[in-house]
Structures are given as C-alpha cells and as structure tokens.
C-alpha cells in the first residue's frame, strides 16, 4: 500500500529538492488525514507545513537519511495528538457546526456530522489507529510501525474504537 520514497539515498538532490518532492507527492493526502484528526482545516494546513519543514530540517542535518511517507504520517500524528491534548487541557469544546467543518467542502450530510461526532469521542490513540488504517490506508502492521506499537494493539484499538463509535452512531439524534 505505502510507497516508500528513500529520498535520502538520492544524492543528486539537495534537502530542499527532496522536500519539494515529498510535498508534491504527499501534501494532499497528508492534509486530509490531519484534517480528519484535528477536525480543523486551517490547523491541518499548519500542521502539514510544520511536518514538511521538520522533514527539511532533518534532511539538511543528515542528507543521507532515508525518509518514508510513514515518517510524515508519524510526525503528523504526533503533532495532531499534541494539539488535541492541548485542546483538551484548555477545555475547549468544539461546537457541532464546527465539528462538521472538516467535511464542509465535500459533504455536509447529517451522517458526516454524526461520524465526526463519533470520531470526536475517541481517544487520540484509538483515533490514530482508525484513521491510519481506514483513512490513510495503512495495514495494522504499518500503522503499528508508525505508532511504535504492535499490530495486535492496533487491531484492538480499532475494535474498541468501533464499539465506541457504534454507540454514538446508534443513538437517536
């Protein structure tokens, strides 16, 4: 599923050119993934910029370092989790209209809002497992590598997330 770009081994490109390639290849998918995660399109774009800039700094420091799409997702996931935890600590509540904002450009159906509300009930780790596997398209083994855990743990989190979402989606509106 994942295309691994071993950009660091292409010594004909400098750090900027490598990052440029990464950006063109992954910006859309990564931004969509982060938007689902943080439920905010503008913030998602900020996070994605930070991720690519972090990639640039890493490649500048170590030009021979291989850099895969998995690294981008890992960094984006960590940034998103940090953001969500900060938001929780501040006690911010996302209004329902905003909860659906991530879907506003493509679908505004009641189901999207319900689904986003269901996703909002998940913990960060469960959310990461669900989005990496069902949205970003990684297998549980790949998601486990990205999240630094085991494939069994990823599957269990997906199962528990499924149960939690089923409860929310099963409730009458």
């Amino acid at each position: 599923m994942e295309t691994v770009y071993v950009l660091g081994l292409d010594r004909t490109l400098d750090a900027e050119a490598r990052v440029e390639r990464l950006v063109y290849e992954h910006q859309t998918k990564l931004a969509r993934y982060v938007r689902r995660f943080v439920n905010d399109a503008d913030l998602a774009l900020d996070v994605v910029q930070d991720v690519f800039f972090a990639a640039y700094k890493m490649l500048r420091a170590d030009p021979a370092r291989p850099l895969s799409a998995g690294w981008l997702y890992k960094t984006a996931t960590n940034h998103s989790i940090t953001y969500l935890r900060k938001k929780k600590r501040r006690g911010e509540i996302v209004p329902l209209e905003d909860a659906g904002s991530a879907f506003r450009t493509d679908e505004q159906s009641a189901m999207s809002l319900d689904l986003q509300s269901a996703l909002a009930t998940l913990g960060e780790e469960q959310l990461a497992c669900v989005l990496l596997t069902t949205y970003a398209g990684y297998s549980s083994a790949e998601a486990a590598l990205i999240l630094g855990t085991s494939a069994d743990a990823v599957r269990q989190r997906v199962c528990r997330a499924m149960r939690a979402m089923r409860k929310v989606l099963g409730e009458p509106a």
Binding site: L115, R155, C159, M162
Partner: protein, 206 residues
C-alpha cells in the same frame, strides 16, 4: 494478552480486512456466545463510512508555496546568521592579532606586573586651581617602545594646552609615562582644585 484481547484483535483484523478465514471462523464461534462481540462480524461501527469518505474526498489543499517559502526564509536567515558570525569572528581575530602581534598584550602584562610593584618615584603635580565647572580633559600617553613593532617611537608630548604638571627631575627624559591636563574655561566659573599625579614604575624610572 488477556483471553478476550485476542478476540478484540481478531475483531479489529476482520474490520480491517486482514483476518484469515481461520481467524474469521474462530471469531465467529466466539461471537456467537459473547454478548460484547456479538454482531461485530457485520457491523463495523462507521469504519466503512470513513473509508467511503476518503474515496469521495474532493478537498485538494496545497501547501507547497508556504513550505518552500519557509525553507527559503530559513536559508536566508541562516546565511545572515552565518555572515554575522563570520564578521564577528573576523573582527575578533583581527583584534586578537593586533593585541598580540603588536606586543600590546606584553605591554599590558608588564604594566600589570609593574603596577603591583611599589613605585620607585612618584612625581606629583602641584594642585592647580581651576574655575568651577571647568572642562577638564586628562590625557594619558604611554611613551617609550612603539605600539607598532618596527615603527619609530613617538616623540614625547611635552606641552599641553594650558597646564603642565611638574615632573620629578630624576625621571628619564622623556619619561615613560606622561600625563597632562587641558582646561577649558567657562564664563562665570568659580575656582576649584584639580590634582594630578604621575606614577612611574620602578624599572622605567632609571
């Protein structure tokens, strides 16, 4: 792994489409008798909807210009910092060279050493009465060996604008250290006293 964790893992694998037929069968047998797992082989709690939304996604954001802009800004900042560091390093290097190559460091060291030794002779200038609010500039000039190696020694400065302190006649001529006072009078000023003292280290007084 707890016994039920195994079935949660199987349930997740089935939902993600990663379970083998044997695993599916094992989970189905368990789910038939487990209230928690019952129905999980068919109801995936919104996972299909998430996958469907991914396929229907039309949002195509672009951050390439912003990222490249940040990279260029970072590069110019780095260049600026590097140039500034180089400029400081060059200035420091020149300063250190001047300090050591010209022998100023040695002179300074000798002066420090000499300052700790008791002075052999002290030439004290008499008190000079000057008007109050007098603008006083005290000039101190080190004579003797030149600051720049190889250059001729500067001639001693013997005269000063208005006032010249008395010198101890036992001092060498010219003295190694020389000081003077320049005064500038302001209108309506009252008198005040200014003391000047010349101190000459022992080995320089000869």
């Amino acid at each position: 792994m707890r016994s039920h964790d195994r079935y949660e893992s199987l349930s997740g694998a089935i939902a993600l489409g990663e379970a083998t037929p044997a695993e599916r069968e094992e989970f189905a047998r368990h789910a038939a008798s487990c209230a928690l797992c019952y129905g999980e082989t068919t109801d995936f709690g919104g996972l299909e909807a998430i996958a469907a939304q991914r396929d229907a996604e039309t949002w195509r954001p672009s951050v390439d210009r912003q990222v490249l802009g940040r990279i260029h800004a970072s590069q110019s900042r780095r260049t600026h910092v590097t140039l500034r560091a180089l400029a400081w390093a060059a200035a420091g290097s020149i300063g250190v060279n001047v300090f050591f190559v010209t022998g100023f460091a040695a002179k300074l060291g000798a002066a420090i050493l000499n300052s700790s030794a008791p002075p052999a002779s002290v030439a004290t200038a008499p008190f000079v009465r000057l008007p109050a609010q007098t603008f006083v500039t005290i000039k101190h000039r080190v004579m003797g060996p030149s600051l720049i190696a190889g250059a001729p020694a500067l001639p001693p400065k013997r005269t000063f604008a208005r006032t010249r302190p008395q010198r101890d006649p036992s001092l060498a001529d010219p003295p190694d250290f020389f000081a003077g006072i320049e005064t500038a009078r302001h209108d309506g000023a009252a008198a005040r006293s200014v003391a000047v003292e010349l101190r000459v280290p022992a080995e320089r007084s000869r």
